[in-house]
């Protein structure tokens, strides 16, 4: 595990990774994330494109071959991407644990 992989993921990155258990194209990802968050997270197309490029370069997702048309290009999560989500979950659980503890104990 490199130091880099221990850094917090952004909400956008986290939800894009979560949405790619099965292959989806850009518009599908936007809809999926919107659904997962009950409309709270509306990904901008410009933001999403940058994220897809970045995650592909990192090897956390990969484009499915065969779609020459960018409109129909689908992406899917890789093993490295799944691992990144697992690491992030541990961190989030720690946040929740400590946060709940502080609130329930009345900030003592």
């Amino acid at each position: 595990m490199t130091v880099d992989e221990r850094r917090p993921l952004t909400e956008t990155i986290f939800y894009v990774l979560l949405s790619l258990g099965a292959p989806l194209h850009g518009y599908g990802i936007m809809q999926r994330v919107n659904g997962l968050t009950a409309g709270r997270v509306a990904l901008g197309a410009g933001t999403l494109y940058g994220v897809l490029t970045n995650l592909t370069e990192r090897g956390w997702i990969r484009p499915l071959t065969g779609a020459a048309d960018e409109r129909k290009k689908e992406y899917v999560i890789t093993d490295a991407g799944r691992k990144a989500v697992a690491v992030e979950l541990e961190r989030l659980e720690e946040l929740l644990r400590n946060g709940r503890h502080a609130v329930q104990e009345g900030w003592r």
């Binding site: 909400e11 850009g26 518009y27 509306a42 901008g44 197309a45 933001t47 409109r71």
Partner: protein, 179 residues
């Protein structure tokens, strides 16, 4: 279909965006832009929401074409491109239309515009310097007009550069707290 041509010049692409959306709300839909010239067509009022983006690459390059195709897959139409500027629109029925949904990507876009303005501003300063040198040598007033033009453009550019720099600073400060 009736059309309308409006000549205008904006330093501030967000003001320009607001104006295009006011026009669209009245049923004047932008269909083409080239240096200060906006071509509108009459259509259903409020049908489209417009956004302007400074692309990272030329719209006709491979990367530029790929990006615009990606946008088109999400329901965003590239109405017109001018240099690296893209005039985009999406159906208002699809909901609020923002190209960038997090601080990171908004900062990246502002920085790109800021970079362009800085280059243009530097070119204008160089041009103004050139005018002064030539005017001084010839002792003539021939260059007063171009000098005034360059100075005016430079001032507009400087104001915009400062505005964008403030915007980037404020968003960067926000990012220290929020994502």
């Amino acid at each position: 279909m009736s059309g309308r041509v409006v000549r205008r010049f904006y330093w501030d692409f967000e003001k320009e965006e607001r104006w295009l959306n006011e026009m669209a709300a009245q049923g004047w839909q932008l269909v083409r832009y080239s240096l200060g010239t906006y071509h509108f067509e009459r259509g259903e009022a409020g049908r489209w929401v417009y956004r302007i983006e400074l692309l990272a690459t030329a719209p006709r390059s491979t990367a530029g074409r790929e990006y615009l195709a990606f946008l088109s897959g999400t329901g965003i139409e590239a109405v017109s491109t001018y240099l690296n500027w893209a005039y985009l629109r999406r159906l208002a029925a699809a909901g609020p239309f923002e190209l960038f949904s997090d601080l990171e990507s908004r900062i990246t876009h502002y920085r790109r515009v800021l970079g362009l303005f800085t280059v243009v501003l530097a070119a204008l300063v160089a041009a103004a310097g050139g005018c002064i040198v030539v005017a001084g040598d010839s002792g003539g007033l021939v260059l007063v007009v171009p000098l005034v033009l360059v100075a005016t453009a430079g001032a507009g550019m400087a104001v915009q550069t400062a505005r964008l720099a403030r915007r980037v600073r404020s968003l960067t400060a926000q990012r220290q707290v929020y994502e």
